[in-house]
Every structure is written in C-alpha cells, then in structure tokens.
Amino acid sequence: MESAYDARIKSRPLYSPIVIRDNAAFHLFIAEESTEGQASGLLWIFNECQSQVKSWLGLSADDVLIFSKNMRPASVKSEELSLALSSLPLASQVYVSGSESFMWDMHNLLIDAGLLTEQVSLMTPTSSIRRVFCTHCYTVMEKVEHTPVTCQGCQRPLLVRDHFSRVHGAYVGLNVNAEDVNDIPEKEALT
C-alpha cells in the first residue's frame, strides 16, 4: 500500500552528489562498463579532478577489468582485484559508478580490502535495474526491471520490495500471491 505516512523504506540507500576529496592521497574511479548504464557522470568528475594521483578502472559486472586509464591495460579477475585494492595508499578515496548492485559489490570488496565507508563514494545508480533476492529459495536474479517478477529458482511470482540489503546488493522479493493465488498485481516498471 502506498500511503503518505512514511512510504520510503529506510533500508533503500540515498545517494548524494559525489564530491572530490582534495586531501586524498590517491583517487580511484571505478565505473561499470555496460550497455545499460553510461559512466559519463563519473568520467566528467574524473576529468575535473586536478590531482596527479588518480586512476580510472572500467569493470564489467563480473569483475573483469576491461581497460584502465593511467594504468596498463590488463584483465584481472576479482581475487586479483581484491589484492590490488588492498595495496591502495592508506588515504585513498574511491568513487564508484554503475548499477546499484555493482556499486555495492565494489563497496563490499573495498571494505573487505580495509577501506572505511567514508572512503568510498557511490554515485546515483546509472539505471533502475535491480538485483532481487528471492526470500523463499534464495535465488539471486540480476537486471530485474519489473515487479512482480517470476523467480528463476522457485517460479513463484515475486513482489519486488524497496527493502535493500547492502551485503547482498539486492532488494527482497516476496511471493505476491501466497494468500490468494489469483491476486497478482499488474506489472509495473521499477524505479
């Protein structure tokens, strides 16, 4: 039910405009390269950043490094990426752009590598596609655009809620017709 009282679920992250931290010892810009989202916003900030110690990483969602600027082109899997991130200078600042699930995957990788939350800046997601976690069979679905969505694991129609887990980088999906099998709402685009 949408009502005016407090409709925004508080676990859904809010994203503030990215600000360059001038005093950082190293600036790392990580962008998801995909057809859905363009990293132009982050690229603009990268170009604006006056620091001489900055790098750009373009990554695909499966954590493969596609290309780099100010770094030699390479192809690195996520374990190697983790290793590289853990050797960043102590006072680094990392700016991330991409789909919401990609950004939280990167965020968690960076936190695991020893960065503090305030050292990681996430941009507003480049698209409204969501990762959805089925709360019944735990199947995780990528690039969900509509609610309800049929679970690829248990085949149940799932209502995609705004309740978000930063650990999973995902929204929760809940069986929409458990109380009445015929009660399936019209498909709506996620925002």
Binding site: T135, H136, R156, F164, V172
Partner: protein, 338 residues
C-alpha cells in the same frame, strides 16, 4: 511455581499446541491502555522479576520448552540459514553461552547444571538429556557451532548485534520463529536498515531513540520490551521463507472459528550487553495465545477489542491483518458491552 515442560506439542501441520490455565494466567498481555499507541515501552529486566511472571527469570523456561526445542530442530534441518554467525562474532557467541548457562543453572537447578574448573566446563541439560564437557572459548570443543549449540537449548530467537560506526549490526543470529523477517536477507544490516520496512517509527524518531538507548545499555543493565502481532494458528515459524505455506491461512478465518484460529503473538524482547565482545544480545521470546483463551480474562477481552478497533490502517496493513481484521473486531465486540 516452576513447571515441568509438557510432552512435545506441534506448531505446524496438526497444531496440537495448547496453553494450560497457568500459562494463560501468566501470559504477557501487551496492551497497557484501551486504545492503540505506538511506544518504545522499555523497562528494566532486573532479576528477580515478579514471581511466577514470564520475567521472573532472565530466560523463562516454561511448559512449552520441549515443544519449542523440537520445532527449532525442524526449522534448522529444513533451513540451515536460520543460524548465521559472521566470523568476528565468535566471542559474542561465547558471551551468550556464559550468560545463559549461568542464569539457567541458577534459576532452574532441577533442569540444568554447570560445573567449572578453570576453563573446563561441564554442562548438563536434563530436559534434553545432554551432558557436554568443553573448553570455554574453544569452539572446536563443542558438538555444534557455539550459537547453534546454545540456541537449541533456549526458547526464543537470538540476535547478536555488533556495535560499531555508531550503530548496531546484526552479525549473528539463530532465528526460527520470526514474525515475518528473514535472517538470511537481513544479516549484516544496521539496526535502522533492519527496521526499514516498519511504518511510523522512522519519521517519529522512534528508531533513532531506540538505537541510542540500546547502544548505551551497560553490562548488567538488561532491559526488555513487548511487541505483538496476530498469527493464524499457533504457528511459530512465520518467516518469509515459508510465507507460501502460511499466507493462505489468513483466508481461513470465519466468524465461527475466530476464537480457535486467531492467536495473539507476543514477543518479549530482552536486550543485554555482552561483557567480552561488547555485542548487544537481543533475545526475542515468542508467546502465543488463542482468542478463546485470551477472552477468559474479561479485562484483556475488552482491551483487545478497543485496541484492535483503534489500530491505524497502516499498521493493519504492515502487520498483515487486512484479510481478517474486520471479522476479529466484530467477534471481540461481544466482550466489550457496558
């Protein structure tokens, strides 16, 4: 009066769960007023509490002990993800073992005993027929991971919250009777994210105040609050994981079966600081009472009617009562005539 647990009754399928007259008498009825009001309603859990009440002892071991432990075993077997311990929470689990074993053996010496020689502990739980020797703090000396080990001997769900970055994070738990929340999805969340879907509490500042209060709880400063919802049939496992099994129960309520089908579900939530890890323990103990048993107390019957009648529509929706709420209010009205 300490009671011996009854033989195992069920919280699923044939639903053989019942409350004795004594259990009805001591039921933690949660409504202090004749109209619904949201409040944090926190009070001290200082021991000993009122004699024979559910808060007389730190952990209330009641007539449903064996039934609840059998139910917990079923849930853990079907859904291992209901026990989660992130690696940094091992010490907090041992804190809980220490706290629980000391309280249980002191409060119920007929059922539990603890012998300690330095860090060599011998724990006996006669209700479950367990006798285990282990080295305190060494998880490899227990037959199960520490949180699952003690969780299988305590009534109520447990969440262990790590305190850092000005918040509490749900980094460990054993959760088999949740009121519609998933540990597998919510693990690792901050306190306010975990409560993200709850209406009112954010805009009225309740969550922020509760969080500040909980973070300031000192060692030995245990507190408690009551929370409630309604459940159809005496079903303990109302997790979202199995919502496809219990969601349809809501359509089975009729004016004729309200008294049997609708249960008031009350959680006594106890919060305490863990001494070694500084984690905050939340024990969420669930009590269930049928409307038929509840209305045997005329004060409760009248108050239940008035509370349900004045419940804000957002809460009717959030608590999932929409399908049967009007039938319940109508049925309760006959106990509120003056």
């Amino acid at each position: 009066m300490s009671v011996s647990p009854k033989p195992i009754q069920t919280f699923r399928d044939d639903f053989t769960y019942t409350n004795s007259d004594y259990a009805i008498e001591r039921f933690p009825f949660p409504f202090p007023e004749d109209a619904y009001r949201y409040s944090v309603n926190i009070e001290s859990h200082k021991m000993p509490g009122v004699k024979d009440s559910v808060s007389e002892h730190f952990h209330d071991v009641d007539e449903h002990y064996l039934s609840e432990m059998a139910e917990r075993d079923l849930v853990i077997k079907h859904r291992p993800s209901c026990c989660i311990t992130l690696p940094h929470m091992d010490l907090a689990c041992w804190d809980l073992i220490d706290l629980s074993m000391h309280h249980l053996s002191k409060d119920y010496p007929e059922h539990f005993s603890l012998e300690k020689t330095d860090d060599q502990w011998v724990w006996e739980n006669r209700l479950l027929g367990l006798k285990d020797s282990f080295t305190f703090g060494d998880s490899s000396t227990l037959p199960l991971p520490p949180l699952e080990y003690i969780g299988r001997q305590l009534q109520g769900d447990i969440a262990l919250m790590d305190q850092r970055d000005n918040s509490l994070f749900m980094d460990a738990g054993v959760v088999t009777c949740p009121a519609d929340w998933s540990l597998a999805f919510d693990a690792g969340m901050s306190f306010s994210e975990w409560h993200g879907p709850v209406p009112f509490v954010h805009s009225e500042g309740i969550i922020d105040r509760a969080l500040k209060f909980l973070m300031a709880i000192p060692q030995g400063g245990a507190t408690r609050r009551l929370n409630w919802t309604l459940t159809i049939n005496p079903r303990m496992d109302t997790s979202p994981e199995v919502y496809p099994d219990w969601g349809k129960d809501k359509t089975t309520v009729t004016p004729e079966n309200v008294g049997d089908k609708v249960y008031l579900r009350v959680e006594m939530q106890v919060f305490d600081r863990m001494p070694r890890s500084n984690a905050l323990m939340i024990c969420i103990r669930t009590y269930l009472i049928s409307m038929n048993d509840l209305v045997t107390n005329p004060v409760w019957a009248k108050r239940m009617h008035r509370t349900m009648q004045t419940l804000p529509p957002e809460l009717v929706e959030y608590k999932g009562l929409t399908r049967f709420h009007p039938i319940l209010v109508e049925w309760l009205s006959k106990y509120d005539v003056e």
